[in-house]
Symmetry: C3
Subunit: 309 residues, 3 copies
Amino acid sequence: MKLSEIAKVIGAEFHAEDRDISAINSITDAKEDEISFISDKHLLKDLETTHAAAIIIDKNISKNLKQNTDHIFLEVDNAYWSMAVLTKYFFKHPKEEIYEEKNGIRVAQNVTIGKNSVVMPGVVIGKNVTIGENCIIYPNVVIYRDCKVGNDCIIHANSVIGSDGFGYATNKEGVHKKVYQNGNVILEDDVEIGSNTSIDRAVFGSTIVESGSKIDNLVHIAHNCIIGKRSIIAGQTGLAGSSKLGQNTVLGSQSGVAGHLEIAPFNQFAARTGITKSVKESGKVFAGFPFMEHRKWLKIQAKIAQLIK
Amino acid sequence: MKLSEIAKVIGAEFHAEDRDISAINSITDAKEDEISFISDKHLLKDLETTHAAAIIIDKNISKNLKQNTDHIFLEVDNAYWSMAVLTKYFFKHPKEEIYEEKNGIRVAQNVTIGKNSVVMPGVVIGKNVTIGENCIIYPNVVIYRDCKVGNDCIIHANSVIGSDGFGYATNKEGVHKKVYQNGNVILEDDVEIGSNTSIDRAVFGSTIVESGSKIDNLVHIAHNCIIGKRSIIAGQTGLAGSSKLGQNTVLGSQSGVAGHLEIAPFNQFAARTGITKSVKESGKVFAGFPFMEHRKWLKIQAKIAQLIK
Amino acid sequence: MKLSEIAKVIGAEFHAEDRDISAINSITDAKEDEISFISDKHLLKDLETTHAAAIIIDKNISKNLKQNTDHIFLEVDNAYWSMAVLTKYFFKHPKEEIYEEKNGIRVAQNVTIGKNSVVMPGVVIGKNVTIGENCIIYPNVVIYRDCKVGNDCIIHANSVIGSDGFGYATNKEGVHKKVYQNGNVILEDDVEIGSNTSIDRAVFGSTIVESGSKIDNLVHIAHNCIIGKRSIIAGQTGLAGSSKLGQNTVLGSQSGVAGHLEIAPFNQFAARTGITKSVKESGKVFAGFPFMEHRKWLKIQAKIAQLIK
């Protein structure tokens, strides 16, 4: 898509030299042919290092910028909303996918399945998906386009790899504009996913489950999360968007992780822990909501029990 | 079904003029050719305005009624149980549905799919379902019979629209008698549903997701809920039966809403809020379980943290 | 598999008479042609009564055993890890299953479906599964091999019966070795399962849902649980492994049950109860996390609310 067309779509003035834009990306990850956006002044610090070809920016933020920058800015009232509008233009609509059926398995174009991998009936595999060797994909699993599954992976029945992350821009009238999720999901090697689990594709880039991690049933992994290698995530746990678990994290059943957190490696979280802040130490056991060290949580529960006496 | 047959099925005496009954319905919503039931004396207040053709009623309740009513009563020991027994007679058994396959999509009789809508492989669409224009129905979604999907809707993989609400009558021996769920689900326009989400059909009438609402993965919406327009329901949240969310309600991840509540518009609930009462004010932020205003919850958590010092 | 081969696979010395081993099983349930394991000294008490043909045991535990036992021991550094290694040899790989399609239903070898049962399109039924009479299996349900469904059962769309329990042995490096789950799931008569629910197969033996029990949507039942007859499990509840619910247990929505618990019959647990200990009394109502009697929980909540005043 031409930069001039983008400017037209989002209603921004455009006077720079025109060029082709291949994708939208975050300010930190954008490549030289990608466009990014700044909807929060805290992102201004990334201007110096970004490779973005152009930047959609809130007028309220850009008006305070010095003029001596090399960046191309597209100034709009609401950069986040404009970005949402634009994602639709980069969305790869499923109508482009053509499925073929064999033994009850439906596979779109350009799919690779490694040797000794078993794909069972009812599985649907989107365009450009790669599946490694020695995998078992159980019935009725759905893998959306562009996702990657490593070697020695097991995905249990009715799980979904690559559904859209839950992202919307909301205007003053309370109308929600979908942010199309144009990234993917990568499952590295030796990953096991339980049944009825959902792992959402990234808005840009990848949601990643690193090698050797094991995820139970009915788990929700939101867009852009990174699950460190050899992590264990027990049943009905949920992670909000963009959180990163260090290696060998253990999340007990029905835990929850808020968005944009970073959890240091080798920590354990008891069942139902509600993780609301990043964790910098390693080797600890946490519990509770708000969460705290497990032994402290036990003490507080004892105190609360005394309350009633 | 004839009223006389109904009386026979539930073991009630019947001496009135016979007539055809088309459905069971609640006392407030029953139409003139429908039968209803009173299993709770609080429902007696609705007797004056109901249009029900006849009313199944507990003997314990009816014995206190004045005789000068025009209603036809079918008196039984346990009206709720009798109603449950009767629902089976109005159940439209799936054996009546005949599916045809095209491109891996299975569609029963009398289904309408609007123009530009894309239905992907593995989707199963029951009898009488209508789907609007410009929709995307991702693989392996199941839409049960009689449900309606509006225009511009997206339903992600492996979600279920219209499974039975969770309703049983239980007798003294602890045996559960299924209340067949003969209603449907209506998704209005511009609704998005995540993956592995379940929206149950109404016992009578409709479970409704109003226009512009967005629902994340692994969400449970029970029978007869109404989700107000432009609401946001984050991952792994659950709503019990018959609750109504006002427009632009925001439910954080892993929240829960008890049954039969009414939530005023424009409220936000933090992740994991347990909503146990109706909310009459608007524009507030709530948290906790039992839930309270978010700032109050923060104070209480601080107090609890002090307990241990 | 020959006992001598097993010894070789797990690197144990073997000097006894060789014989065929048909399966791995727990020390209490092992039959005379099955092998078991002791990875915890608390299991030593079961040595007297076990029928196991041989026992894999930690060297640290076996060194304290008296020599005058009749048992055949295979001594290893980490019996649990060795057992995990061995489960793969007894795993029945899905590549052995050959599916045939009829009306959109995929059925493997040796499946029995009783009269008047309706199986809907997209359902996948593994090898050796039996389904009783008068059942409804809604679209896209997956029933893994060897599972049994009784008479008069209903399973709603996209639920999974028999996915693998979540079990791994973990070594000092934090690598997780899969414990292949070679048991099954048994649903007795008159059981209803909601949509998007997962019931995991047992590691050995059976996960059982007894007759007349009703399970809602998005429920997670882990391996080796036993759900007592006529129990009610509401939406988004999860049970960890090997817990047993007595008959007529009621679990409110979003409840959780820790592993290896025993709950006496006829107890009710409010929504979101976190059940962390076995319950010996009957006829009570519990709530909270940590859980307590419901009336006590209400008092504590009132006290906590006073804290802030």
